[in-house]
Symmetry: C2
Subunit: 237 residues, 2 copies
DNA sequence: CCAAAAATAGAGCGATCGCTCTATTTTTGA
DNA sequence: TCAAAAATAGAGCGATCGCTCTATTTTTGG
């Protein structure tokens, strides 16, 4: 179930959820222009920062006039809001719905969460870059959105680890910080994107490395082979 | 050898290295006012972002007039530059000088690097928050500084891991990404500071958790007890 | 003690910001 | 086909930005 993550599909979702803000009636026009606008906004923001991106920049880059822009949002902050909520929605949609056979096994589930999260950020790279990089300077309400979204993600990891604990699968003495330490490992993939790209590291390699590190920290070694299609078969002791 | 990391000591270092920029002659006055200015700049920047901090904000908060500010820097960017280079200097000074008995043993050395890095970011929290959060929106030259500084830190980890490999201490099949994955774990301590503080997690607990995760990933299990004064004696298999 | 030097205050400058508003063009539908 | 409606362009508004410059106060040292 690979959800389409191109800019246009995501903008379609934005139009659905923010119908009261976009004042353009013709849906064909609205989708096409919003896509252009969001595309330009992500590019500019991720290059120079959201604050430093002026609406005149955005107008020139997107080819939509100043007045035209305000048919798609009612303030610069509401543009930010659109992008941010779309990212949040995508994360929730993907991580909340594991296949049944995955949900049944905490080990597979944890591995699956790691893989899906990295693949999602890979597919929506500019969106995540935007949401993470800019969150610190958001206005109060939007910053809260970003924080909450992140807390929600962490909950998925906490829950599956708690379930593993109930089933007695965890290593003895495993740190209670484990769930909190997963997120920064996942985020590094898009935050330090350039570094990994420069070294020619494939997304599957990255996923496998994080999976191995976390699985080692969480579980007793066992004869079972690692799960997840990205796994590269690290040698187990 | 605990280097003093209070704002005043760091500002003294700034005055030494940026003597050509600060135009105030009296060193007592210069130190006192620069400390006040940097203090205010870090507070404002970390609250609302460097770009959003206007020099009028800074003037009002620090109590130094607009004209007065420009006796301490010649542009907003050069103020940024001061703080950034001081952070870089501090990292280098601490991480480059391990005690002899630590440098001799890759395991101890890796553990030591983790501990020292977290303790340093703890002691210079607003500085690191500033350097990391704002780096993305820096002008070209300053962004390069931040990137280089980060690459340098990573080198310390790469080197000690390479040394461990030479001595045959590493687990078989350990990921070549290991060194790259340490930094995001260390950064989370100050990037997500509020989260850890809210949950009442002590710095020693955090250090121990990261040490354990990394040591487990890197090394074969052994009977030796974990090193570093922050270690809390996790049960080893 | 008082001129020279250093330090300080804050009004003012040009540029640019987010945003609005009207004039104009394009599209729609009876 | 042609008036009504929708979409678009971009000049203009007040606020604020980084920064400068002069007038003034404070400190220094012979």
């Amino acid at each position: 179930m690979q959800k389409p993550c191109d800019t246009e599909a995501l903008c379609r979702s934005i139009l659905e959820h923010q119908a009261d803000i976009v004042s353009i009636r013709n849906p064909r026009i609205a989708l096409k222009k919003l896509t252009v606008i969001i595309d330009a906004a992500l590019t500019l923001s991720n290059t120079k920062g959201f604050q430093a991106m002026s609406l005149r920049d955005l107008s020139k880059t997107s080819g939509v006039s100043m007045g035209g822009l305000y048919a798609y949002f009612d303030s610069k902050t509401s543009l930010l809001n659109m992008i941010l909520s779309e990212v949040t929605r995508a994360v929730e949609e993907v991580l909340a719905n594991p296949p049944q056979e995955v949900a049944d096994d905490p080990r597979r589930h944890l591995s699956w969460l790691i893989e899906e999260h990295v693949l999602l950020t890979e597919a929506m790279l500019p969106w995540f870059t935007f949401a993470f990089m800019e969150a610190k300077n958001f206005p109060r309400h939007e910053r809260r959105m970003a924080t909450d979204s992140e807390a929600l993600t962490e909950r998925y990891f906490e829950d599956v680890i708690a379930r593993a604990a109930e089933q007695g699968l965890l290593r003895p003495g495993v740190t209670p910080l484990l769930a909190m330490l997963i997120k920064p490992l996942l985020q590094d993939w898009y935050v330090k994107r350039a570094k990994y790209h420069r070294r020619g590291i494939a997304v599957e390699t990255y996923i496998a490395a994080v999976q191995n590190m976390i699985m080692d920290a969480a579980f007793e070694p066992s004869g079972h082979s690692r799960l997840g299609k990205a796994d590269q078969g690290r040698i187990l002791p």
